[in-house]
């Protein structure tokens, strides 16, 4: 089989995927912009003229940012520990990936059992008499962020871990032998070298958090939903496709506004690292 044919055959499935994806995306944006053959921005005007939608957009971005922040805070040390673990690293990896085998609905519902008014924590605290009425641990932003961090943390860990594994342990030792205290070594050696993984993790988690549906639906408050959930409801409950499309487009653009600069930064960092690191 000629080489070009082989390549064409291999590319065919991805080409098909790209076409379907692009067609869907164009139709989506189109349906939010065009009514009866005319350009019509009324859906966007309607969204931005309603204070609750603007608040929802702000909340979505805020929750996504906080989720990303906490994922990074928990993910980096975990990834570092796994990367430097001298024992059976595969076992640790398995433990990290394990939650993926359970449906996101089940995992989010698990938090209801723990955080709910009659859940594990409230039940225990009322039983001991520390509090008189159940504390509000869910149906608010706290619950959503907690749930999202739980769901998305593995992505952050894996993204950072893949880069940390490439960094020779020796480099930290070299830094220490040159008088670099652990904090100095982290700042000047480990962090710059792991930046590509950190940025990948941030991108992944942030994107998935902005588009989250199930976790905010189960753990979020009724009055303060996130955009993803709202789009889901517009489509599934009200069948208002153009409005859902307009919301989705807004979400897409705001997400890109954050992710594209990160992507450019990541390219730049990766290029800087690669021409120094090739041995």
């Amino acid at each position: 089989m000629p080489r070009s044919l082989r390549i064409a055959l291999l590319l065919a499935p991805s080409g098909l995927l790209m076409c379907v994806f692009l067609y869907g995306l164009i139709r989506l944006i189109g349906s939010s912009l065009v009514t009866d053959g005319q350009i019509d921005l009324s859906y966007y005007e309607a969204i931005f003229s309603r204070a609750d939608y603007v608040a929802m957009l702000g909340r979505t971005l805020r929750i996504a940012a906080m989720t990303t922040f906490f994922c990074l805070l928990l993910g980096f040390p975990t990834a570092y520990y796994v990367a430097r673990y001298r024992g059976n690293r595969n076992f640790l990896l398995l433990m990290i990936i394990f939650p993926w085998l359970v449906s996101i609905v089940v995992r989010s519902y698990g938090w209801v059992v723990i955080l709910g008014p009659r859940g594990l924590i409230n039940g225990f605290l009322t039983w001991t008499g520390l509090i008189e009425r159940p504390a509000k641990l869910m149906y608010n932003d706290f619950g959503v962020i907690l749930g999202l961090v739980h769901v998305l943390l593995p992505f952050m860990i894996i993204a950072i871990l893949s880069v940390l594994m490439q960094i020779p342990r020796n480099l930290e030792e070299a830094s220490m032998s040159l008088g670099g205290r652990p904090s100095y070594s982290f700042r000047t050696v480990l962090l710059p070298l792991s930046l590509p993984g950190v940025l990948t993790g941030i991108t992944l988690v942030y994107l998935m958090a902005t588009g989250a549906i199930v976790t905010p639906l189960l753990l979020g408050g009724l009055g303060d939903t996130m955009l993803g959930t709202e789009i889901f409801q517009e489509v599934m409950h009200f069948f208002d496709y153009p409005k859902a499309a307009a919301l989705a487009t807004v979400l897409l653009i705001t997400a890109l506004a954050v992710v594209l600069p990160i992507q450019i930064l990541e390219r730049w960092v990766a290029r800087r690292l690669s021409d120094g690191g090739s041995q």
Partner: protein, 369 residues
């Protein structure tokens, strides 16, 4: 031979250091004193514990027992970044995200010694011959240049001791020879104490003031390069450092300065000198080591020369210009002889020829059995 370590206080003392990993002993009660400005080599096969010992000096491993003293102060528990000890890694461990200048400046910045930083960095780059390479990235320079960057990076802070963990092992032979000479020059110029780890005995002999030969976690011998080669104290040292002939012998008698030895295949017992304090007594079985270059060969018809003599057959020989190396089979076992090549009838001796093998008795080194 003056023992420099005893003249002043040693800069670094390894005092009965042992390191165990999960029940296996990597380093076994090693004691070494290193004098200031000395070039000491830890020589041994891979797995002999030399790298572990080096890592303990650097502060990356803690001794299971024993102490490591710097200028008389115990630093066994100090973290690596508080020790004034440089380390050149086997894989160099240059920082890939920094250029040559920043790599070299790293130690000064980390220790917050930024006064005159630029001057110091440029001076040290000049010392290792890397002027003009400041802004190059570490991926854009050759292996030998990377080596120099690693050396400059560790030297710029003027450490009390510089440790080098087989830094030349990845280079080709020619570059290696060149850098050996240069390393020695830099050590002389800076006056910094070097502790060099290698498994290459030639490298050790050509560079070191003193060599610690290690085997199975222990130091078998710690002496000058010449002493190590000419007076190996154990069978391991004799075999590991240079080529040698090890022959089993028996001490017939013993006096103040030497012993008379009998060897199977040699008619006459011969007397050999012993080092002072040698514990060998009459009746002991011992090993003798004779370097191949001390062997003389002659036609079997010659009158017996003085010194131990036996006959053997040439098994094979290789000619290398000025010398010929013979593999011989004798009553005392297989022997190697490296003799000057003399042009003429019957030279080199053909394979299968019976020849007379002898050496001067005082070139024999006696090793306890």
């Amino acid at each position: 031979m003056p023992d420099t370590a005893t003249l002043s206080q040693p800069i670094l003392q390894i005092d009965a250091v042992t390191k165990e990993f999960d029940g296996t002993t990597a380093v076994d009660r090693v004691t070494l004193d290193v004098a200031e400005g000395e070039f000491v080599t830890l020589l041994g096969p891979s797995g002999c514990g030399k790298s572990t010992l080096l890592r303990m000096m650097a502060g990356f491993e803690t001794p299971t027992s024993g102490r490591i003293l710097m200028r008389g102060e115990d630093m066994s528990k100090d973290p690596a970044y508080e020790r004034e000890i440089g380390l050149v890694f086997q894989n160099l461990a240059l920082f890939p995200h920094m250029n040559v200048y920043d790599n070299v400046a790293f130690g000064l910045r980390a220790r917050k010694r930024t006064e005159g930083l630029d001057r110091k960095v440029r001076d040290i780059l000049a010392l290792v011959g890397l002027e003009g390479f400041e802004t190059r990235r570490t991926g854009q320079i050759s292996g030998g240049q990377r080596q120099r960057v690693a050396l400059a990076r560790s030297l710029v802070t003027s450490p009390d001791v510089l440790l080098l963990d087989e830094p030349l092992s990845a280079l080709d032979l020619k570059l290696r020879r060149q850098l050996q000479v240069e390393l020695k020059r830099i050590q002389k110029e800076t006056g910094i104490t070097f502790i060099f780890v290698t498994h290459d005995q030639e490298e050790a002999l050509s560079m070191s003031d003193r060599i610690a030969v290690m085997n199975a976690g222990r130091v078998e011998q710690f002496s000058s390069a010449v002493e190590t080669y000419h007076h190996p104290q154990t069978r391991f040292v004799a075999q590991f450092v240079g080529e040698t002939n090890l022959v089993e012998a028996r001490a017939v008698s013993r006096d103040a300065v030497g012993a008379v030895l009998a060897v199977d295949g040699i008619d006459q017992p011969f007397s050999v000198p012993l080092v002072e304090g040698s514990g060998i007594g009459a009746g002991d079985s011992v090993w003798i080591s004779i370097r191949p270059e001390y062997m003389t060969l002659g036609p079997n018809t010659d009158p017996a020369p003085t010194g131990p003599t036996l006959t053997g057959q040439v098994v094979s020989h290789s000619f290398s210009g000025s010398t010929v190396t013979y593999a011989l089979d004798s009553a005392a076992g297989p022997l190697l002889a490296q003799v000057p090549f003399r042009a003429g009838e019957g030279h080199p001796f053909p394979n299968g020829e019976t020849v007379q093998i002898s050496w001067a008795a005082d070139t024999t080194t006696v090793i306890p059995g």
